[in-house]
């Protein structure tokens, strides 16, 4: 299982224009093209998870995540925010890179936690923040994942 297999160019936004954490979560959920009600429920669940503790893991990276019945398979998205967002991250620094991961309650192959783990592992690599900053297209993002082999 490789992270690259879960992402596609249409769920990567390298030019988020949002101003808040909430707007950012909504924008990334929007990349999944769910119906309005499902988006709203998913947003609520992600917010709820954030109230239990920020998913900002430091070094400008956040990994909001949740399980919900409104998705029927594991979905991931990535967004980059040039100015940075207040995510109440562990290191209290602005978040520029947001990996969103959502999954249904039950998955046949139970990939949710392993994928979450791989994103965390990828995020901890020393050069990753700089490499993410330098991306010029969603395709390059996918290439980076491939190159890292996570």
């Amino acid at each position: 299982m490789q992270l690259r297999d879960f992402f596609s160019t249409d769920t990567v936004d390298l030019a988020l224009k949002t101003e808040t954490k909430d707007e950012t979560l909504r924008a990334l959920v929007g990349l999944f093209h769910l119906d309005e009600k499902s988006e709203s429920i998913l947003f609520k669940m992600l917010k709820r998870r954030e109230t239990l503790g920020s998913t900002g893991i430091g070094r400008g990276i956040a990994i909001p995540h949740c399980r919900s019945l409104v998705v029927n398979r594991l979905r991931v998205a990535f967004g980059r925010h040039a100015a940075g967002l207040d995510f109440k991250a562990i290191d209290e620094k602005p978040v520029h890179y947001v990996f969103l991961i959502v999954a249904p309650p039950l998955e046949v192959s139970n990939q949710y936690l392993p994928v979450l783990g791989k994103i965390a592992q990828f995020s901890k690599e020393a050069d990753v923040p700089d490499r993410l900053a330098g991306l010029e297209s969603p395709k390059e993002f996918l290439q980076l994942l491939e190159e890292k082999g996570v």
Partner: protein
């Protein structure tokens, strides 16, 4: 979507978060990677679930309590015309409605509430 179904879905997701946090792997991951205070998180989830439960109307609340007490999941998806709680086929007429989630559907076999994913 029916307002009560929306509340049930939210409750279901919160139940799931709580159960996941009680498991070793997720608990370890959330506290290790995200620095989460798991005990505080569990208490917060419990409060929110109770808060939402009070929003359920009488008959829905009664069924919810009955089902959650014995079957763990009160809301299950219907996929391919099958209830994913008991794996028994549901009447096809329900799924053919323009928005089957606009009303409260209950499995005639296992009693769980049905949700039709988009």
């Amino acid at each position: 979507m029916h307002e009560q179904l929306e509340t049930l879905l939210e409750m279901q997701d919160l139940h799931m978060q709580r159960r996941a946090l009680e498991e070793g792997d997720v608990r370890e991951f959330e506290s290790g990677v995200f620095d989460m205070s798991v005990e505080e998180a569990l208490a917060a989830l419990e409060d929110k679930i109770s808060d939402l439960e009070r929003r359920l109307t009488g008959d829905v609340q009664e069924r919810y309590r009955r089902v959650i007490g014995s079957r763990h999941r009160a809301v299950v998806p219907v996929l391919g015309g099958v209830c994913y709680g008991c794996f028994v086929a549901v009447p096809t007429s329900w799924a053919s409605e323009s928005d089957p989630n606009a009303k409260m559907n209950v499995c005639q076999n296992c009693g769980r509430f049905h949700y039709y994913p988009p």
